[in-house]
Symmetry: C2
Subunit: 233 residues, 2 copies
């Protein structure tokens, strides 16, 4: 499975790429500028080589232009700010193929239009994830996930103390992305139900940013009170 | 401090009343029917007496009609379904006095109008809590809290594995309610910022209900990654 991280030079994208590369996944960092993408991939490679116990030969991480990155991937993870989400999806659309999974991590923060990062925008379709679903071919499976995972924690050493709530209308695609989420140490993945539920998960990020501002932390969330199999399916 | 629980015969209200009475708070259960309110108070009293180590003489729990319950309370906790929230606030309004704190726990679930409990309704003011603020005198401090605490867990023995996110435009009132939340064993209370943020906290409940349905649990949430003082202020 090859994972393209569109907007992979940004904090969230590069953090996810780092964690998945560490776990042995094949990663292509996407960027508008292929040179920047290649540099980001090199940086992640050096970062992992620097850490103990990871054999350099196991690292499968490269970088290229966003659309090219999508062409050779089974999973495409979109990690761009909301204000460029629709534009980016239109740009990569010609590269999308039936059966690919598009993971949307976009949060429609009011900061996208000069407002506060603790407030969200109303999206006509209900959520950024549903907007994404409208902008890709129907044969591409859209999944909303990773909205609540702190980019700072992804870049730090150690496990990430956060659950990932995965929303999709396609059960098999959601299952694949829950498996992928669990490759990040510390992360538990949960079935968040249909894609429409991404509207709540996206908004939680605005709340977490408020906690971070008030308390100077890198907040995440854990869902409690569920049987162990809820985190394991 | 006397706490009136409006709609206190319902699952969430009686659960909160039980936990606070156990902690030694003075509780008045409110109901449309004063007889039912008195019975609910008796039931909670017996329940606590049945448990070890709680001296009966310490229990200060009674029941009366909703409006009457509000008259002698410093804190009023509204625990009614969304479909009767506005009507109930209009009913108790004549009993409200300057300086009282109204804690709104209402979640605008689509189930209120025959829809799903995993979906929420759009409230014109932004949230049920902001609707409550519009319906009470300006001299009453409105706080949104306890939306995500499982009624089932409140009624079970043992600590409640859930954080309570407290939203209010009045810092002192929010502080008082965070203190009150911490009287429930297991609960940590967090500053959720302004009342407008209640819109996110309310919607989280719809997401939690989805987890409960899919996994047969009593879900709650914990916020991670904040310094200890964030849970303590």
């Amino acid at each position: 499975m090859t994972i393209a991280v569109v907007g992979g030079t940004g904090p969230e994208g590069s953090g996810l790429a780092l964690r998945w590369a560490q776990a042995g996944e094949t990663i292509i960092i996407g960027s508008r500028d292929p040179q920047r993408a290649a540099e980001a991939a090199s940086k992640i490679r050096e970062q992992i080589r620097g850490a103990a116990g990871v054999p350099a030969c196991d690292l499968k991480i490269s970088g290229t232009e966003n659309k090219a990155a999508c062409e050779s991937a089974e999973i495409i993870v979109l990690t761009v700010p909301f204000e460029v989400q629709a534009e980016m999806l239109k740009h990569i659309k010609p590269a999308l193929r039936p059966g690919q999974i598009l993971v949307d991590t976009t949060v429609p923060l009011a900061a996208s239009v000069g407002g506060r990062p603790t407030r969200s925008l109303g999206v006509w379709q209900g959520s950024a994830a549903q907007q994404a679903a409208e902008l890709v071919p129907e044969s591409v499976f859209v999944v909303g996930a990773f909205h609540n995972v702190s980019a700072d924690l992804l870049h730090q050493d150690g496990p990430v103390d956060c659950d990932v709530i995965v929303c999709s209308d396609d059960k098999q695609a959601a299952h694949s992305i829950r498996q992928l989420a669990r490759k990040i140490p510390g992360v538990r993945a949960l079935d968040g139900g249909k894609l429409e539920n991404a509207r709540i998960v996206e908004q939680i990020t605005a709340l977490l940013i408020g906690f971070n501002i008030r308390s100077k932390g890198h907040s995440g969330l854990r869902i409690t009170g569920l049987p162990p199999e809820a985190y394991d399916i």
